[in-house]
Subunit: 433 residues, 2 copies
């Protein structure tokens, strides 16, 4: 999710939405059912422990609006429209009240990207949100080279002080600061560092939300159930908000084992999509995304339109698929229905990313990329995406307005993103026990 090398300034025009024209049937149905939807969400929030924060990548194919990735360590708070900062602060206060009302101090543990200005701006923004929510905030780094407090000046003028993490028995501290809560903004792709193990403090999100233990297939299995229940409430085919998926364990791209499982699963998912496309009269060519079941950063991802494409991959393709962030080896593979994105800004493909704190939608942005097709992953290594903040927030649907009113479109995005958030809550509960 982190914009590893975004363009420095979003120079594209501030369109309010990338998809113009009247609301599509699905969006209209979601809008019409708003009171029922919000009532249902309220009961769900009461029954589940909601992650502290999350971001969800959506794809809007017009006939279908679905989440394709749910990130529990969102890294782009700096990309949100700063006008909605108060929403983040209010939502953070709500989260703290529910999860750790006694907390006074929070230690933020970020990723180790100290040279990535965009990521560091995200950390600075997150620290500001927590401070404005009324907490004392310090930033503890896992980097071995941070041996003393180190202040970085960011390209936007903000400063950020990273401090070395210390253990005091079962407590994680930094010099002169013993926090009540540890907030992870690190997805633990490299495993759970010893310094974070067996802590007596609350760790948010819990350690099992890291990619050492988390699996996309488990998330989307939970999403299946959430989407089915939701679809029943508003009377739609759950497929309209849910991508098909399948999983292959024991794949080794380097040793070329597990290939048959992959071919079979890709074929099976493509067939299911074909049947749905026929049912709905969709003329596009079905495709699947093959990606690591654990991991992030758009590494280890392929777009596949024919099962034979995953047979006999060449060395370059195998290398690309075999390893994700931090050198984590890929063994489990997710085969996910590809959802076309029909949102464009000028000539560029745009993918909405929705941000949530507690169960509140606090903003979002478009990942806009000029060099990629409608069927490709927009979060690929080296991508030059432009973050384009949503101009309105996602919580202002107005049934009395014209159906193509922008807030109405964003409302649908906020609903589907919250479904994915709810699935993440269910997923974490299942992992916990």
């Amino acid at each position: 999710m982190t914009p590893s090398d975004s363009a420095p300034n979003p120079m594209v025009p501030h369109l309010t939405t990338a998809l113009n024209g009247p609301l599509l049937d699905l969006e209209q149905r979601i809008l019409n059912a708003q009171p029922a939807i919000e009532h249902w969400f309220r009961t769900q929030w009461q029954e589940h422990t909601i992650p502290f924060y999350a971001s969800v990548d959506l794809r809007n194919a017009g006939f279908k609006l679905a989440p394709v990735d749910t990130n529990l360590f969102p890294g782009g708070f700096n990309n949100l429209n700063s006008d909605f900062l108060p929403l983040c602060v209010q939502a953070a206060q709500s989260a703290i009240e529910k999860i750790c009302p006694e907390a006074r101090g929070v230690l933020l543990v970020p990723e180790n990207h100290t040279r990535n200005q965009f990521y560091l701006q995200n950390v600075a923004r997150l620290a500001l949100i927590l401070k404005q929510a009324g907490l004392k905030v310090r930033i503890g780094s896992l980097l071995p080279e941070i041996t003393a407090a180190t202040t970085l000046t960011l390209s936007n003028g903000a400063t950020l002080t990273l401090e070395p993490l210390l253990r005091k028995g079962n407590r994680l501290v930094v010099e002169g600061f013993d926090p009540c809560v540890i907030l992870l903004n690190n997805d633990l792709s490299a495993g759970v560092p010893e310094v974070l193990q067996n802590l007596e403090q609350s760790v948010l999100p819990p350690l099992q939300a890291g990619w050492t233990t988390r699996r996309k297939s488990q998330h989307f299995a939970a999403y299946d159930r959430v989407a089915n229940e939701f679809a029943q409430i508003i009377g739609i085919d759950p497929w309209l908000i849910n991508p098909y998926f399948a999983r292959c364990g024991e794949v080794d791209f380097q040793a070329q084992t597990g290939e048959e499982c992959l071919v079979a699963q890709v074929d099976s998912v493509l067939q299911k999509i074909r049947a749905k496309y026929a049912e709905y009269g969709v003329k596009d060519e079905p495709f699947v995304i093959v990606k690591a079941d654990a991991g992030t950063y758009g590494m280890g991802i392929m777009t596949v339109k024919d099962a034979n494409e995953v047979r006999g991959l060449n060395r370059k393709q195998r290398n690309k698929m075999a390893v994700v962030k931090e050198g984590l080896q890929v063994h489990d593979v997710l085969v996910q229905e590809g959802v076309y994105t029909f949102e464009h800004i000028n000539e560029a493909v745009a993918e909405p990313v929705v941000y949530m704190v507690d169960h509140y939608v606090v903003g979002g942005f478009y990942r806009v990329h000029t060099g990629r097709g409608v069927d490709e992953n927009l979060n690929a290594p080296g991508m030059h995406f432009v973050p384009l903040a949503f101009e309105t927030c996602c919580s202002l649907p107005n049934p009395d307005c014209a159906p193509d009113d922008t807030p109405n479109r964003f409302y649908a995005y906020g609903v589907v993103a919250r479904l994915a958030l709810l699935a993440a809550a269910v997923e974490l509960e299942e992992m916990a026990g």
Copy 2:
């Protein structure tokens, strides 16, 4: 609180704050103690049931920042900066989750001012907030002349449909709509109408929050305790955030009884203020505000600088004091320390009003009035106030910024307003027994 005849357009410039210059010592102390303050508030919100909404009139004398009135049926949502509408919606969702998560429909019961465009715009705004929070909303009128659904077109183009209230056993309904919750935006100055009595539905705020039973003196007695506890936390003299007050019962302005009590109390409060002014080197002349202990709308209010002024009032003065809104007779009188307001916009005196939904500060505005002095009540009948929306919200303090940064000033306003809200919660609990 309702702007009974505001100017149609706020033509004054959109200053970010009426009080310029560096943050005063008190504001700086509040800012410095932010983590301790928010931690304390969190524990308070857990211990008390917070009113659905409230607005608080503040006065900023520089050395002193205090609430002078707490309204549990706020009537100026239309005056808030519409950029912060998402904050209102998010806070309303939070309130609904806590108070009535099962609610699907809400019936809003407004005041009977069908000819007051500004008040009707407030009702329309409130209905929109509730709709956007995901509820079905209808508006039920207490007016006998509303015998069928009546749609009003407001001067800002919005429409509002008022419907006659009906009883179905112990349920309050309108035609074809049986709500889960009744939200009062009517302060019940005329008593609790029979149609609202003995309802099985939740009524928010509770009926005892109406002026039939509520007393300002009880609110400020609760505020005394809240302010004392808070003052201890940040190490200040509680007087700096708390106006002295006293109460006289059994006053009859028409029959001229109870005058001696009033003279004695006015004198006593003035003496206490004099001592504090001497202690702090304040050169201004102490004054008190004499007002009805129950009631609103700035009726029945006098500014008094000498106890003898309340002796032998002439007929006109007595008439002015004897009756408040809806012809409610004044018997109990509050003598409240007057707090100078040193906030100005151009030549005009400005009084900040802070709005809250649940325990979240969602915005505010200035009551700006050119024809009044710094020691007068700005919410008087016939006043021509200009609502000037706060340009920033109150929840974004930034300790890293210059102390005269605007958000920092507004943070202090939000803190003191929340203290008054907390006092209202305590007050309602005491009334409920």
